[in-house]
């Protein structure tokens, strides 16, 4: 989060200040990539498309930092849905917009993941049902309040709370299970 400086940083960026724009980008791009990792390998490409769209509308944007983050992630999701639809069409598969992230989850569902890094953790997130995965990443990584996530995903605030809670609980259990597995392995080696 940029925090108290956000208003000025945004105004400077809207006036053409490249350094201000770099600060906006730097603050949000890591979270954006982590969220878009739900879509698999296309994350970086979709992030680039997202920034292009955001830049085009930058001068017209009005709002505080929460609104800014919500706008960027809403844009990212639209670009991800477009990319997922295109990918499904090219592969001759059926397509539902709500599942842009789910088709990549299965590949790591049964994998043994030692979640020692953020990347490993994101791999675990991708094993969650898509609704939970999106809720967790938008709430925890993007830092969006419940109301914004609900609007972004077209669901009720209550369902977002439940999905996020269940997702986090599930991730914690997976981590815990891994810890037991790792501990067992060490005991066997010892």
């Amino acid at each position: 989060m940029i925090g108290a400086d956000f208003e000025k940083v945004l105004a400077d960026a809207q006036a053409g200040d490249e350094y201000a724009f770099a600060r906006l980008w730097r603050d949000l791009n890591p979270a954006l990539l982590r969220y878009l990792s739900l879509g698999g390998e296309m994350a970086e490409e979709v992030a680039a498309e997202t920034w292009t769209t955001v830049v085009r509308g930058l001068r017209r944007f009005e709002g505080d930092e929460t609104a800014w983050r919500a706008w960027v992630f809403t844009t990212a999701r639209r670009r991800a849905v477009d990319a997922g639809r295109k990918r499904a069409r090219e592969a001759g598969l059926g397509w539902r917009a709500s599942t842009w992230a789910s088709d990549t989850a299965a590949d790591s569902a049964d994998a043994v993941v030692d979640a020692a890094t953020t990347e490993d953790m994101l791999r675990l997130v991708r094993t969650l049902p898509a609704a939970q995965a999106e809720a967790v990443l938008l709430r925890v990584v993007a830092g969006l309040p419940v109301a914004e996530v609900a609007e972004l995903l077209g669901r009720t605030p209550g369902s977002i709370r439940v999905a996020c809670h269940r997702g986090l609980e599930s991730l914690a259990k997976k981590l815990s299970k891994q810890d037991v597995t790792q501990s067992d392995l060490r005991a066997l080696r010892g």
């Binding site: 724009f21 770099a22 791009n29 929460t66 979640a115 890094t117 994101l122 991730l171 914690a172 981590l175």
Partner: protein, 251 residues
Amino acid sequence: MSNEFHGEGLHDRAGSHDDLLDEVAANPELARVAFLLTARPSERELSGFDGPLEAFRAHVSAPIPQRRRPSMISTLAGAKLGATIAGIAVGLGGAATVAYVSASTPATPETRATAAATPTQAGAATDAGKDAKGQNDTATPVGPDATGSAAYGLCTAWKGVAQNGKAMESVAFQNLATAAGGEDEIEAFCAEVEAPGESGDRATGKPESAPTGKPESVPSVSPTQRPDATPAPATPDTVPTASPSHPTGRS
């Protein structure tokens, strides 16, 4: 929980995390998940700024001189606008100078790569002038030609910022000093610079009195002929937003 993770954590993030913050704070396992998810950005996550920067330059910080036709740069409006931007840049400590100057020259792959390779510095820097100076090394700034029609605009801008110690950091004013024969000579040089239109063959000033009555004879020139020069627009395409910093002191 390993000490190798330095995630900023939910408590440092948006103050609106309310119930989620409570939930995570009360459960160490959830906290571990949250810390892993919000750990510091990797190098990979902070690379790839060149594309967004290119889009930004194309759609937001589009250079004013590039948008204008070459002939317009030498007009009074163009010269004054350039000088105004240069003056504002000095007032802001040089940050805008880079935007203006680098915009004056086509961005080379090298300059784009430099900008892309240093998002950390650019993003974290609060001393924009310092970074701007560093970027000038690769941007090959040229600034307006102080020996040409931009001289009057530069002199006007100079009067407003001459007391600013950072004024000479601007390439525009360095050009002015060169044209004057030295920084100390700028004042004398500017005293000799006439406003565009004061000494030219083509009168651009307003007549003291408006002609009255109809002409007695019909002009022999066909009315379909257009003048050689297009009058400068009354207002520039892009209006500087920092109006309080107008170098001429006008509001």
